[in-house]
């Protein structure tokens, strides 16, 4: 089985991000780029599936990212994926969700996968919309929010998380599955994995290679950024030392009354 995992590069989650007041852009200097933490669960799920099937199945990483993202893609390879495909092209830079879905789906389609595994969302955009859009664009079933997945007899079966529990849903392959952080505990790349990853193939594709016929990127965006503002900073609040529980509780209640919560 050919398993594909989509990954994204995001600004380091530990960095306190700043916006440059003049350019209104994210200050990127000093902010490292990392593998979207949510995607690590997708990689782990794919690797576990491959190991369980033990039938020569492969795991391919797919990413739409500038060429500079290669090192991050390599981290996914170091975890144990077999190879990677990167779509790097100025024509797709600045794509909105729709453009990303169109370009990524075309990249995926060219690989003819049996299963596409994604994270539920990215830490920078936090939309959670891409898995469903990919399924729709690929014209195959989409099973989202999976905390458990198995493949059997040409079908994928997942436990889909709900607000109050889960539901079991299944669909024929090929399909798109997004996995949640409850699905597994992502492995760390081993030293052997890191060394081995250097020899693995990272295929770089341009928009022309995937037969992209519609304009995506900044110009083709159907959700166009028109304004970016920094909200007024939160005024630093009060700190009250509570000598005892009653005093502490009273202080909070007074505050809530002042603010008309009570």
């Amino acid at each position: 089985m050919k398993i594909l995992v989509t990954v994204k590069l995001v600004p380091d989650t530990n960095a306190d991000k700043r916006i440059d007041p003049a350019t209104k852009r994210l200050v990127r200097t000093g902010v490292e780029t990392v593998l979207n933490p949510f995607d690590e669960y997708a990689i782990e799920a794919a690797l576990q599936l491959k190991e369980k099937l033990n039938d020569g199945s492969t795991v391919t990483i797919v990413s739409m990212t500038p060429a500079s993202g290669k090192e991050i893609v390599r981290k996914a390879l170091a975890m144990g994926a077999d190879d990677a495909v990167m779509l790097s092209d100025d024509a797709v830079a600045g794509s909105d969700l729709w453009g990303t879905a169109v370009a990524l789906a075309a990249t995926i389609k060219a690989q003819s996968p049996d299963l596409v595994v994604t994270g539920t969302q990215s830490t920078d955009a936090i939309s959670g919309d891409l898995p469903g859009m990919l399924a729709e664009k690929l014209g195959i079933p989409g099973l989202t929010y999976a905390r458990k997945l198995e493949v059997d007899g040409g079908r994928v079966r997942v436990q889909r998380e709900t607000e109050t529990g889960y539901m079991t849903v299944s669909a024929p392959l090929p399909a798109v599955v997004s996995v949640t952080k409850s699905a597994n505990e992502p492995r760390y790349p081993s030293l052997k994995g890191i060394m081995g990853a250097k020899k693995k193939e990272i295929k770089q594709l341009a928009a022309a290679d995937i037969g992209l016929t519609v304009a995506v990127g900044t110009d083709g965006a159907k959700a166009q950024l028109t304004d970016l503002a920094t909200p007024p900073a939160r005024a630093k609040g009060h700190v009250i030392q509570a000598p005892d529980a009653a005093e502490g509780a009273k202080a909070i209640v007074q505050f809530l009354k002042d603010r008309k919560f009570l």
């Binding site: 949510f38 729709w98 939309s127 959670g128 399924a135 109050t164 166009q224 920094t230």
Partner: protein, 323 residues
Amino acid sequence: MKNVIAYIEHKHGTIRRSSLEAATQARAIADQLGGKAHAVVAGDGAQQAAETLKKYPLDQIHVMEEERFIDGAVDAVEAVAKSSGPSLVLVGNTMIGRDVGSRFAARVDCGINADVVDFKTEGGEVSCVMPKLGGLVITTCKLTGSDYGVAAIRPNVFAAKETPGAGEIVQIPSSGKASTVTVEDEVEEAAAELGVEEASVVVSGGRGMGGPEPFTTILKDLADAFGGAVGASRAAVDAGWVSHGHQVGQTGKTISPQLYIAVGISGAIQHKVGMRTSETIVAINKDAGAPIAEFADLLVAGDAFAIVPELTKLVRDAKAVHA
């Protein structure tokens, strides 16, 4: 865009609050655009949900009883969009809402904006306002280049208000299509309770709670006193004290309740990005110098195990006076 379509999420006929917010907001935007406000409700119990929707300011309520999980809902929204003309589709920014909105957007090739907290309309075009990077920036995006657009609205930001409209119920004929996704079973692990995304008051606990018990006792009591929900930091979730659905933050949920009470939570950046757009933030922490002091409106330094039960009592007393 002229008309506004609210996709209504429900469970066997009981509508989620975020969908009632979408229905109410659909009217407000449709009025600005000079169009109609529609609602779409699909699946088992749709008819019953439609009756509830009559109390909301909608022109038409479209019903499809056919049950085909996400597929059926997307088909229903598509049918209404195609018949009513250029439209903005509103969904709740929930697991189901996102699935329906994203699939519709991909199907009809339109723009989609996630986690919308405000709208601007000008010259028939709709712009969505969305906090990004955990509220660090506020972006405005215009939906252009298509007859349609999708906005997933953040729960608890727009009001749900009962003011009946024409409320004409229109049946959508069954598509007769086979479902590609089979729902095999559904398991309830917890009693249906208000989720952190939809609660107007969230009482969250962190590593400072020391174990699972406080989440079902002292924190739950305080949340109940407000009619709110219990949230958690990742440390508490990772320790297995409370399920992932409660987690607030970068790898959890992004929420904007009116009141957020952080108990025994230090206020790490990844937690902060999930809750910093809360209207009011109160922290209870042993350590007056915890990072949360930097963005809480009030930090009371002291032992949570002593303060919270006392606070719950006072809140109940204050509420009783008003009742």
